[in-house]
Symmetry: C2
Subunit: 458 residues, 2 copies
């Protein structure tokens, strides 16, 4: 049975990709795109009038010479030649085009907007989708469809909960995707630049059906239709894909700069925060908190909601970091759990005499030389019916070997364990080991951990 796929699906999850303007000149967009597509599991068609071969791939002089209409065509030619290539793609039955070139609606010039409108009309008349112009493209890591010139890092291990990134800005997409270098699982990076056809709302809608993405991290500036944006977020959340959102251009000064950046409208008068929150989004004020928030959502989305703020247990291997956690919880308005007497009794028995079995529980430096002790205490605390979530301040940037067991404990109890990296070695050799675990949430800031727990209101 042949499955009929939508052109949105063909564009962003392609089985065949044409690169128009493929090149062997290092640094050129056509060269960089071919390099990024090196691991593509589908059929790759470089299109070049000049070259017969690029690496192991034979080139085709024009898109009409391809053996099939491509699902996705990357247009890596100068702005002046873009329009005729978009037309050729539309004629050929291409699912969608990715247009890198700049010089469209982002300019202070009606000619730029007119040229962008023409591209959109060509695409829409043919039912073809268009990503861009002025975009860095996208990456779909499961298939290796990295149809862009930016070197987005990404990917995920088997069993790891991965997040998908959606950004209007390619530079921000790249900045956020670099979290993959410390172990964050990333399924997709999708950037849409000027959003002439596909905008962030479409990208969120696309991701709602993608199994590899456990949550969506969204950073956006302007959009033509706020209601569509809110609708796509509501649909994603309802479909089991939580969405963390950072809105760029939220201040008057930022909004002014948005208008001359991508030529899109930030809709300053629209009540963004209220509408996004009502749609079920998790709002993040700063982009540096976005990845942790989305990963937290990816790892906790299947937990049962309690409907009240989580009552925290805190378990540290030093008094100081436990106190910091208590401070931070208080600032975030989160209650510390009162341990049951049975919990205190079990903890007191397990811990050395100079440790504290109260909440925050200080297991002392003994815990750093005996990782089993932390696991045992974590299990005891999460078994307490008064505790909804456990916060574990982690002072050293190493994996004590217990991350797998801690993740299992969290999954078994159906309550989150948040590991908070107190180390200022912000990547640190232990970080990927923690990111990998499906039920262990990693934060690089106590404040951001508390904000995530507070916002989650499970």
């Amino acid at each position: 049975m042949k499955v009929i796929r939508s052109n949105l699906d063909r564009t962003l999850n392609p089985q065949s990709i044409a690169v128009i303007g493929a090149s062997d000149r290092p640094g050129s967009l056509g060269y960089r795109t071919m390099a990024n597509l090196n691991g593509f599991s589908g059929r790759l068609y470089p299109v070049s009038l000049r070259l017969a071969q690029i690496g192991e791939h034979s080139c085709y002089p024009t898109i009409d010479d391809l053996p099939e209409p491509p699902d996705c065509a990357v247009i890596a030619v100068p702005a002046a030649a873009v329009e005729e290539q978009v037309e050729a793609c539309a004629r050929r039955g291409t699912g969608g085009c990715v247009v890198f070139a700049s010089g469209y609606a982002e300019l202070d010039d009606p000619q730029g907007s007119a040229a962008q409108d023409r591209l959109r009309t060509i695409a829409r008349d043919a039912g073809m989708r268009l990503l861009g112009p002025n975009t860095t493209g996208f990456a779909h890591f499961a298939s290796g469809a990295h149809a862009g010139f930016a070197e987005f890092p990404g990917g995920f291990a088997e069993g790891q909960k991965a997040i998908a990134l959606v950004s209007q800005s390619g530079a921000l997409g790249l900045a956020l995707a670099q979290s993959a270098m410390h172990g964050t699982g990333i399924s997709h990076v999708l950037t849409c630049g000027n959003s002439s056809d596909l905008d962030v709302a479409d990208l969120v809608t696309f991701l709602t059906k993608q199994a590899e993405a456990s949550a969506i991290a969204l950073v956006f500036e302007g959009i033509s239709d706020p209601a569509r944006m809110i609708g796509s977020v509501r649909g994603a959340v309802a479909g089991g894909k939580p969405v963390a959102v950072c809105r760029v251009g939220s201040t008057e000064e930022g909004a002014a700069a948005v208008r001359w950046h991508t030529g899109t409208d930030p809709h300053r008068t629209f009540p963004w925060d209220e509408a996004l929150r009502e749609a079920g989004a998790f709002l993040v004020p700063e982009p540096d908190a976005l990845i942790e928030a989305a990963t937290f959502l990816a790892k906790t989305r299947n937990l049962e909601k309690t409907g009240h703020l989580p009552r925290l247990g805190i378990l540290s291997s030093s008094g100081g970091t436990g106190i910091l956690a208590a401070d931070s919880a208080a600032r975030a308005g989160l209650p510390l759990a009162r341990f049951d007497t049975e919990t205190v009794r079990i903890l007191a028995k397990a811990l050395p005499s100079f440790a504290s079995p109260r909440n925050p529980c200080d297991a002392t430096a003994q815990a750093t030389s005996n990782p089993d002790l932390i696991v045992q205490c974590a299990e005891t605390i999460l078994s307490d019916a008064n505790v909804d979530a456990l916060v574990l301040p982690w002072g050293k940037a190493w994996d004590a070997g217990s991350f797998g067991t801690l993740s299992d404990v969290a999954a078994a109890k159906g309550k989150p364990i948040c590991l908070v990296w107190m180390s200022q070695w912000l990547e640190g050799p232990g970080a990927p080991a923690a990111e990998l675990r499906p039920s262990l949430c990693l934060f690089r800031s106590m404040e951001r951990c508390m904000r995530a727990l507070s916002e989650s209101r499970r």
Copy 2:
């Protein structure tokens, strides 16, 4: 001429160190301390009744057998044997002792407090100083006097501006010191645990005279005498050593935990924030912001104050990150500079036509392939009399090769350049290259950058 050194100086900047309880048993405190002292440039005396030799060092049976009274004696023996060793050190004319053992005033037990009082009395009667008990020790990286069992990373390159860390908690000291792994210059890590004699106020006073420290990062819980603490901060600031402070136990919940952690009093009713600010300290609410703030102070301490909030220039290589910077400045209440027409003219000439010469200035992705362009624009913007500081959002975790020149531009103009790491690869290969530069300030969060600039009010 023989210089008479104070016992405070002898303790924390020793030319000779005795390790009482030196050991060849891996994992033991005596072993770990000997390993940390491997690079010590002074005279090292292991003291052991059991061993004749540790590595290349001959052991001495007791402290009385040493060829000289040591400047500093590390007491790495179990709590039960500590008191007699402190007495022996006092008799021998030791400058100061470092006591690792726990089980003193941090216990819920008057016997613990009494034992701690006895140690202090022995030391004070002899004029000897005492660091601890319940401390992880200290590290003085210029001399290699790493008189502690925690593996504090640290050190600094020639010409780099280094910060000194002061912490009551050893675990927090270690967590913060790990910033050395991404390139932060660290001259000292000093931790004092229960603070029976030397407390954080003494450590700050000591650092005021240490040339290697360009600024002080202080994290503390309780102290017996708030006025002394404030006095030491005021003295450091007046002496040209700016102090960034993060106060642990600032909430009611945190303060309760402080009391049972180090047995010190957080003095909740004392108006800490007001008093510290009046003394010239730079307050930091979260510990994850402390290192960046202190390093910012170290790199900008010699710049002239303007007395008003800095008017910012923003220079980005992508529209999105420039907008984020404008948003963040607005939230922090910092004004964007209005560029002089001459500035706009020079920028427009240097930049491609689709770039923006306004503030925030978007030099576009062209700047990422041409690092000279960023330097040229930075120099133009900082030459504008309307601009007090330049913020540079940096999307990729690499050094474009321009950090040295940018640092020189900042120094020549006498205005700070703040590089803001937008990349979520939080260490990233470029970070040490930026940290190294004496006049280029690196931040890993736009919000923290704006907070530092706002607090500095230059």
